[in-house]
């Protein structure tokens, strides 16, 4: 038992406790001094951090889109639309690119005279300041994140499809079920575990792997509108040299992820039961 306990403590509990403990101390002049909840009080008074939490709320709302796109595409690929092999490898390829590369490429594409605005121009819609407008920038970054990661979820969905019993599909088809009916009554219930998995991993991905994109594309701007907790933690740790304060933000991020994760699992369980 001893080694097992050691690993759990070392990998999971120790850094977490270290962080929580550290978050109760001061920075700079008050280095090492226990300051109680001061850091947390300051955190929840900082409009940048509150903005970061509000952006987490947007991520939760956009989550169904980020799951539905790869889910629907995987369904078509599974049903063997023409060229499904080609689509599978093309869709997956952005998933292997670094957020830095993706962000750099999209900085070019989204510039004022760039391809996307040119396309809008052809369609007769005015140019959009994708990264400079504080109401738009967060959605732009999330959109690019979805562009870069839907292939990963797609592959997971496809491996879920591999466990689906083809006889069920054949039966549904010979009963004359339409495609939406097949999706609703055969595919969704059959893949409930996979869907649950994709929901949770996509959410974790949104909360923990958008650092590179934000760093490259917006640096949190304009006006702090594209902050996420992880970027905030990095700024406080690396730029502001306030590690204890950053620990407090880390602890909040962990709690947010815990709550969001548990809420998702319980919601998905409940809807699963209704089917």
């Amino acid at each position: 038992m001893a080694p097992a306990v050691l690993v759990i403590v070392l990998f999971r509990l120790w850094p977490l406790l270290l962080g929580v403990n550290f978050s109760l101390t001061g920075d700079g002049d008050r280095n090492g001094v226990v300051v109680g909840l001061d850091n947390y009080v300051e955190l929840f008074a900082d409009p940048l951090f509150l903005g970061a939490l509000r952006n987490v709320g947007w991520l939760v709302l956009l989550l169904p889109v980020a799951v539905a796109i790869p889910g629907i595409l995987a369904t078509f690929i599974y049903l063997r639309v023409p060229g499904h092999r080609f689509y599978r490898s093309v869709y997956f390829f952005p998933a292997v690119l670094s957020p830095v590369i993706v962000g750099s490429i999209f900085n070019l594409l989204l510039s004022f005279g760039g391809p996307l605005n040119r396309l809008l121009d052809v369609l007769g819609i005015g140019p959009v300041d994708w990264l400079g407008d504080s109401h738009v920038a967060m959605f732009t970054v999330v959109g690019v994140h979805i562009w870069a990661t839907f292939g990963m979820a797609l592959v997971v969905f496809l491996s879920g499809f591999a466990t689906l019993d083809p006889a069920l599909l054949d039966a549904a088809r010979s009963d004359g079920a339409t495609l939406p009916q097949v999706i609703r009554h055969v595919i969704v219930p059959g893949l409930s575990r996979t869907i649950q998995f994709v929901f949770v991993t996509t959410m974790i991905g949104m909360l923990t792997s958008m650092f590179g994109l934000i760093y490259v594309m917006t640096s949190g701007g304009p006006g702090g509108s594209t902050y996420l907790p992880e970027y905030y933690i990095w700024i406080q740790q690396g730029q502001m040299n306030r590690p204890a304060y950053a620990s407090a933000a880390s602890t909040v991020l962990f709690l947010v992820m815990l709550v969001v994760g548990l809420a998702q699992v319980s919601i998905l369980r409940r809807t699963g039961r209704e089917d």
Binding site: R12, G19, F76, Y87, V100, F106, W147, I233
Partner: protein, 275 residues
């Protein structure tokens, strides 16, 4: 019949458009890299008139990219070698050696999978600073190993558990020690899994920006991804050279993807469906 044909187009057209949206950003970047600065400013969309490599040469030589590239290669090689060694040993031990607490140890590794990096990053930087490992190759390599080892152990253990215990027993009867079994049976039989997980880990480490940014602050130790972000400031008025730098960082990834597409997808899904 007619209805089926129309609905098929309704599916095929968006899928083809999406495939275009997946490929075009990279084509645009590659095209920009092949243009002169003058041509790019004049018209971003026209095809480059010839394959000009002088931008690539500028990006490679003048901006320290060659140095960053080498730093990345050192860090990735070191991290992947250690990950494969530790991962295969631990995977073998957890799947075939019954000892007290082996089950709990495996659970401990699983638990570590769910602790996001952001939560432990502040304590990690502090520990590295205390031990003098900040801004050194061993420090960065160790951080990568710590970050990706739980996933590697988990995949190796689930791969090895499919190897029948009889094979291990037979090898022991033939006079092999535990290390003999590992070296002569497990290592060769595990090659396909080692290749998959090695490629995936190499991509993770190559693409990382957050850990490298935290642990390799000095300019001569920058990894390629951090280097690309600094290129952006340096060549903000010279997009073709900046695009060339992005291309230099992306090409190794694209090559690995083309060669190991299936293995990457397999490793991703092996971590998902059994999780």
């Amino acid at each position: 019949m007619r209805g089926a044909r129309i609905s098929r187009w309704l599916i095929a057209a968006p899928m083809a458009l999406l495939a275009l949206a997946t490929i075009y950003p990279l084509v645009f970047t590659a095209n920009a890299a092949m243009k002169t600065r003058h041509d790019y400013v004049l018209d971003r969309f026209s095809l480059a008139d010839s394959l000009r490599w002088d931008n690539v040469v500028t990006a490679w030589t003048s901006a320290g990219t060659a140095r960053y590239f080498l730093n990345s290669v050192i860090a990735v090689t070191g991290a992947v070698a250690l990950l494969l060694l530790f991962g295969s040993m631990a995977g073998f031990a957890l799947s075939h050696l019954r000892f007290r607490g082996s089950r709990a140890l495996l659970l401990g590794c699983l638990a570590a999978l769910f602790v996001p990096f952001q939560v432990i990053m502040v304590p990690l930087v502090r520990t590295m600073a205390d031990t003098g490992l900040v801004d050194t190759y061993p420090g960065l390599i160790l951080a990568y190993v710590a970050q990706f080892l739980p996933f590697t152990i988990y995949l190796m253990a689930s791969y090895y558990s499919a190897i029948p215990a009889e094979i291990v027993d037979a090898a022991r009867i033939d006079g092999n020690t535990t290390y003999g079994v590992y070296l002569r049976i497990m290592l060769p039989m595990g090659l396909p899994a080692l290749l998959s997980v090695g490629v995936l880990n190499a991509l993770f480490c190559w693409n990382d920006v957050l850990i490298a940014l935290l642990l390799m602050p000095s300019a001569e130790h920058r990894t390629l991804m951090v280097g690309v972000t600094s290129l952006r400031g340096q060549y903000s008025a010279d997009i073709p050279t900046f695009a060339s730098g992005v291309l230099i960082a992306a090409v190794p990834v694209l090559a690995v993807y083309l060669f190991f597409q299936r293995r990457i997808a397999d490793a991703v899904t092996a971590g998902s469906t059994k999780g």
